[in-house]
Subunit: 369 residues, 2 copies
């Protein structure tokens, strides 16, 4: 996507220096910082500390992390045990996002087909870059399928702006291109359909107000930042036509783990008869589980992410302490929205309802005999 | 209530200087700033800019504001027209809180019973202080009635801590003593019932993390600050036994206007079969209306309250800008929770369900013939 006229992705492989590079998203929107990921520890830190975040991007970063583990070991000590141990370390960087396990395992499997170290390095890089490209292509397809949903509402409103609420950042910064939740929005906008986006600020890390607002603004899409508290009120007043969110892991039965607070928006959408869609590449499905509440581990992150808020002050990125120094905080990072509250999934293969039968109809190769 | 061992209220009349004084709550929890309110403009600024906030406290401040309007006019120019105009200005300071209109009108009516200026000043002060004291007494009664709800849950849990979620600050800082939503909590704690409070931080102004956490901490009550996004997740996991919130205006049919985001918590409580109580003195009821969504005006506040976050940095209270400079924001301050989602009201007269019939049974003098 374009940033001030320049094509940019949140992760890329720089061929000149043979280095994996990422945007350090912690400093957006106020500073655009680029980081080199030269070791597996760099990659793990980038995932854990959320230089990179968003399920598809975490998957892409993990995939390139397998490549990094091999080039880091230039003394040929990269045997199968080493590779597996590094893959396990990468997969443990964050517990909820499905794409991380999927991306790492896929590159590991491609790597293990080779025996020679140099061939393995080459295979790992090729497969990881393939993962990155596929995510971009999948997001573009999600955009095309989701466009139909927005078009239909636009027709019903006689072309007046379609008001879309989104939570967190499931934009291109969370993916590679287009985003998941934002892909239909970018596609609609580029097709001259009037849209306006309500951007949940998404506490505690403000991925909505920091990242989604930045992305949309750079692309010229009308948007308004709101608190996470405001969505229900706007829905009651007829000011939201559609909700689209991303997901970090979705069960084969359609339960959706996504950024904390998503469940509250799904409840409000249901209470006000507003369609609630989840956009995802199939790499986000966890085909092995059905019960999201029981089977998806919810990451508990550092309470300081709630206590300290980062922003711009006197031209510098600074943090301020909000609650009393002595008050503890708890910081669950995700919640699970039950399938019963989801209107539909927008995937790279098309749209389906949030039932196992409909999901399986779209992904028949995942049917368990 | 006690602050570091010293009895304190959020508003008081200093007899030595004959001045109305308030805690300027904008700087809590990091600085305890006291302000004199010497003119009606001072009072309006304190209400508008939220030096004082919370429906009962806004009512008490408005009541004392009528007294201030009279002493300010020491040249005997305070005729009935002047008084009414100042009362109207006070009532326009904020549009949603019922108690403001109620407090101002009550002191105005008491004042108009006198004709002599000095008698009016005396009457205004006496009635305003009566309003303040009654709010304190009412909150104490709310605490005693609400205690029964917490006791019953405590018994069912065999004395294990009762987990209570609250939104915004409906504590003593929002009232005069005890608070509304917090009154049952303080009363339970003082009666040696184990409680733990989930404190919604309450964006955008963080009244939960700044004020409720400070109050509870000063009183020694176990509490944990959470994002506004987290409540649904905690309820799904059985970690919330009870929700208690305050209200800024409640219709005679039981629709509840309260801090933005309350509606989302009510939806989650209903979805998880968790009791959702609203605690209020009867001064918060608007006896003239039934339909909250239609009839309660929702204040739209300055978007900068969302864009800039205030906290402590290097020992100083500072603000930081979170979203991109160019992104607009919208800031509705309240939402309306429909009566159907409310388990019950905890009032100074006892507890009733959220139906017009039950509310009228408790306040029969308000029955419309």
């Amino acid at each position: 996507m374009k940033v001030d006229g320049k094509e940019m992705r949140p992760i890329w492989f720089d061929r000149a220096t043979e280095t994996v590079q990422v945007i350090d998203q912690r400093f957006l929107p106020h500073q655009l910082v680029i980081e080199d990921l030269k070791t597996v520890d760099d990659v793990i830190r980038a995932i854990k500390e959320m230089y990179v975040r968003g399920a598809p991007l975490i998957g892409a970063t993990g995939a390139l992390g397998v490549y990094v583990s091999l080039v880091q070991k230039n003394n040929r000590g990269a045997d199968d045990n080493y590779l597996q141990a590094e893959c396990d370390r990468l997969k443990n960087a964050r517990p909820t996002a499905m794409n991380l396990f999927w991306g790492v395992d896929r590159v590991r499997d491609a790597t293990l087909k080779e025996t020679d170290h140099d061939a393995r390095v080459k295979a790992a890089l090729a497969e990881a870059l393939q993962v990155v490209e596929e995510e971009a292509v999948n997001c573009e397809k999600i955009g095309r399928h989701g466009l139909a949903v927005i078009e239909e509402i636009s027709r019903k409103k006689d072309g007046r702006p379609v008001n879309i609420l989104t939570h967190c950042n499931a934009g291109w910064l969370a993916c590679v291109e287009y985003g998941t939740a934002t892909a239909p929005i970018y596609t609609a906008f580029d097709n001259h359909i009037a849209v306006h986006v309500w951007v949940d600020e998404t506490r505690p890390l403000n991925q909505g107000s920091r990242l989604t607002a930045w992305e949309l603004g750079k692309h010229g899409i009308p948007h308004t930042v709101i608190t996470d508290n405001a969505g229900g009120h706007l829905m009651q007043r007829g000011m939201v036509d559609l909700v689209i969110v991303g997901t970090d892991r979705t069960t084969r039965a359609g339960d959706v783990a996504n950024k904390i607070g998503t469940y509250l928006k799904a409840l409000a959408a249901r209470d006000n008869n507003i369609p609630f869609y989840v956009a995802l590449p199939s790499s986000t499905f966890d085909w092995d589980i059905t019960d999201g509440l029981k089977d998806i581990p919810i990451e508990e992150r550092n309470p300081d992410e709630i206590r300290y808020v980062q922003g711009l002050s006197n031209g510098k990125v600074q943090t301020v302490l909000v609650p009393p120094e002595m008050s503890p905080a708890a910081n669950p990072a995700f919640d699970v929205t039950p399938a019963r509250l989801v209107t539909g999934f927008i995937t790279e293969r098309g749209i389906c309802s949030a039932t196992e039968a409909d999901i399986m109809a779209l992904f028949p190769e995942k049917v368990i005999d």
